[in-house]
Symmetry: C2
Subunit: 396 residues, 2 copies
């Protein structure tokens, strides 16, 4: 049997931790526990706690730390409550087993699911076993595990400041802030977190004196903000759609969408923000030309002469959306996302986006060269950035 | 400094590999290379090849494997081509550095980005360094790395068969197929891959005799398919929206959407399938009541007496969508996704979904208990499953 290992490198992924991923294999999990405990004081274990037979973590932990499996009354009450009150269906024997824990563990109750967390200590090391479902694991980590760890260790201070830039590539940003970056003190690091036409720049300061670190970090962050002002979307860790939402709430104005090639993805991004109903009225996914004509009132002549993927069409789609939804601003997209549908004149990746209001509508053309999913995401974030600029300045 | 390790457990994640994640730290990367080469024949390295100063992988590989950095003509031509033809902007010095590789490596050209892959051999181990961008890495892995590895190793045969079930929880499925699972031969394993109200069941056979494995796997898969028939969506590795698309193409029928609480996410799922314009005409994101009234023709009295989140409203939203879009089928959603907006009578997580055609429209109520994003995703997949059943059987 050939053995392969994967090493993933990058501060974007993590800052100083080691992650080991193992399959549901007794010996591999056992070895991972032994090996990690050699170098780490804290070993966080996720996954392998589900009710199905492929999950062997709990019996293994029982043997690794000694002791025997017992039913925890708190965990049992939680499992019963979730079935009675939330799932509203009868429990089966297998679900009851979720409440079993090794009697050598301290139980951490799971507010979001049936599998309890378990805290073990052995040879001066702390081991915490958590469910693998990300939603449950993150909640347990934030609510229970980190507060308990803080009482046991005097942890170093780690501070982050993040800003978002758009319309400039990672390498150009790096070139532009080269001197700033090389002059950073050694206790402050810069990470580039690129994602779909945007780059998040994160400064991380670590040390022991919180006040001094905060001062240093603020000073560097202010410099960085000035350096990237031309492309700056926001100097906080917010998404493009949150930024647009905040601006519209501030201005007490409204927005609608008319999407062809993005197929509802811009609407989804906007409505993923809690409270978006304050400014987002609604949208049309005009996937067929009939919908473009009948709901958005794009003239039949435009569609037949210029085609659905054209400047004339997206301009009309915005004015149609403004009429139909009676909003202050509108955004429209039309393009060829692939893999099929391209022509010599309009190859896959050709996209038109328009943004505007009752006074002015502006269109821009883009070319993307990725797979369908990525072309949709890029069109959406580039489009939202045009919209943000238009709302702020009346231009793009 | 306290050191923490993370161990993630689960066959869902991987089958037999070990993954080590390290930050952009010279010593940690160096140690990971040494340690993984002790047990693995193949070491795959991803990330750390970007043009920014936080990327130290290439100089490190140069020192680790000996040799010096030289410009690879093929990689240089690729970088130039991407800037001239695709990005249409001037290159800077930093971009040229992307074409540098250690002269001890065999270069693997990157068809999807600027950073080339590098293949090294040392002490009988193969090391492959690939870019961290998932789109680029997956393409390079599939097109270049796996074919080259196949010529060097006689790899075992690994076969998968996957089916998708919906409307039943992981633990109930496990209970239901307990005898089947425990009677599986040791060379066939079953994995549960739960995701948003659906569970993917994957049988994996591994060994050396391909024909025998295929026969064994087919036999077991046939048994499994019969056992889960009641909840079976499809006996292939397809998504719910692909399944619905295939059915509609087969029937030559059309679909429209009227989304309130899912805010365009159902439209996005449907249009993420290539060729979906054949059956998906379009949709309305009716986030405000005005849009429900003016475009979908939901009576004002219904909205004021029953409320937007009600059976009466989603029934009318479907008939409105059928009228406006002139499609064979329609689906509508309305609910309270949270975190705000709940009341004692209609708490956060209350959702109504309706599906139907000109003859019949059926509504169902759900309660979800997660965060906004997960409630949106669950409403969308539960709704699409109702739609699938309705199209197939006229009932849900």
């Amino acid at each position: 049997m050939i053995q392969a290992s994967i090493i993933t490198i990058g501060d974007e992924l993590l800052i100083g931790q080691v992650i080991v991923a193992v399959g549901d294999n007794w010996q591999n999990i056992w070895n991972a526990l032994n090996e990690e405990a050699e170098s780490a004081e804290i070993i966080l274990i996720t996954g392998g706690l589900g009710p199905t037979a492929d999950d062997i973590t709990k019996p293994l932990l029982c043997e690794y730390f000694g002791g025997k499996l017992i039913v925890d009354p708190g965990a049992l009450a939680n499992v019963k409550d979730i079935f009675e009150r939330v799932l509203k269906r009868p429990m089966i024997e297998r679900n009851l087993k979720q409440a079993e824990v090794p009697d050598t563990s301290t139980v951490i109750q799971n507010k979001r699911g049936t599998a309890p967390g378990m805290w073990f200590e052995k040879n001066g090391r702390i081991f915490v076993s958590m469910p693998g479902v990300p939603y449950e694991m993150k909640g347990m980590m934030t609510d229970e595990v980190i507060p308990r760890l803080k009482t046991r260790f005097s942890l170093p201070v780690i501070l982050h400041r993040t800003l978002l830039v758009a319309g400039i590539g990672e390498s150009f940003i790096a070139e532009h802030i080269q001197l700033f970056e090389s002059a950073l003190p050694e206790w402050i690091r810069l990470a580039y977190l690129p994602n779909y036409g945007m780059v998040r720049l994160r400064l991380t300061a670590s040390g022991n004196q919180k006040e001094k670190l905060e001062r240093d970090l603020d000073e560097q962050f202010d410099q960085l903000r000035v350096l990237v002002a031309e492309w700056l979307v926001i100097d906080e860790d917010l998404s493009m759609q949150q930024v647009i939402g905040n601006i519209l709430v501030e201005k007490d104005q409204t927005l609608s969408t008319a999407e062809s090639c993005t197929g509802g993805y811009i609407a989804h991004l906007l409505t993923s923000v809690p409270g978006s109903s304050r400014y987002y009225q609604g949208g049309v996914v005009s996937y067929s030309n009939n919908v473009k004509e009948n709901i958005l009132r794009v003239n039949h002549e435009i569609l037949s002469s210029s085609g659905a993927v054209s400047e004339a069409t997206v301009l009309k789609m915005v004015s149609g959306a403004l009429d139909v939804f009676k909003t202050d601003y509108g955004i429209a997209t039309s393009g060829i996302m692939g893999p099929g549908g391209g022509t010599a004149e309009k190859p896959v990746g050709t996209v038109w986006v328009a943004v505007g209001n009752a006074q002015k509508i502006i269109a821009r053309q883009f070319y993307f060269r990725f797979d369908r999913q990525r072309n949709i995401e890029l069109t959406s974030t580039f489009g939202l950035n045009l919209l943000r600029k238009f709302i702020l300045t009346g231009a793009v």
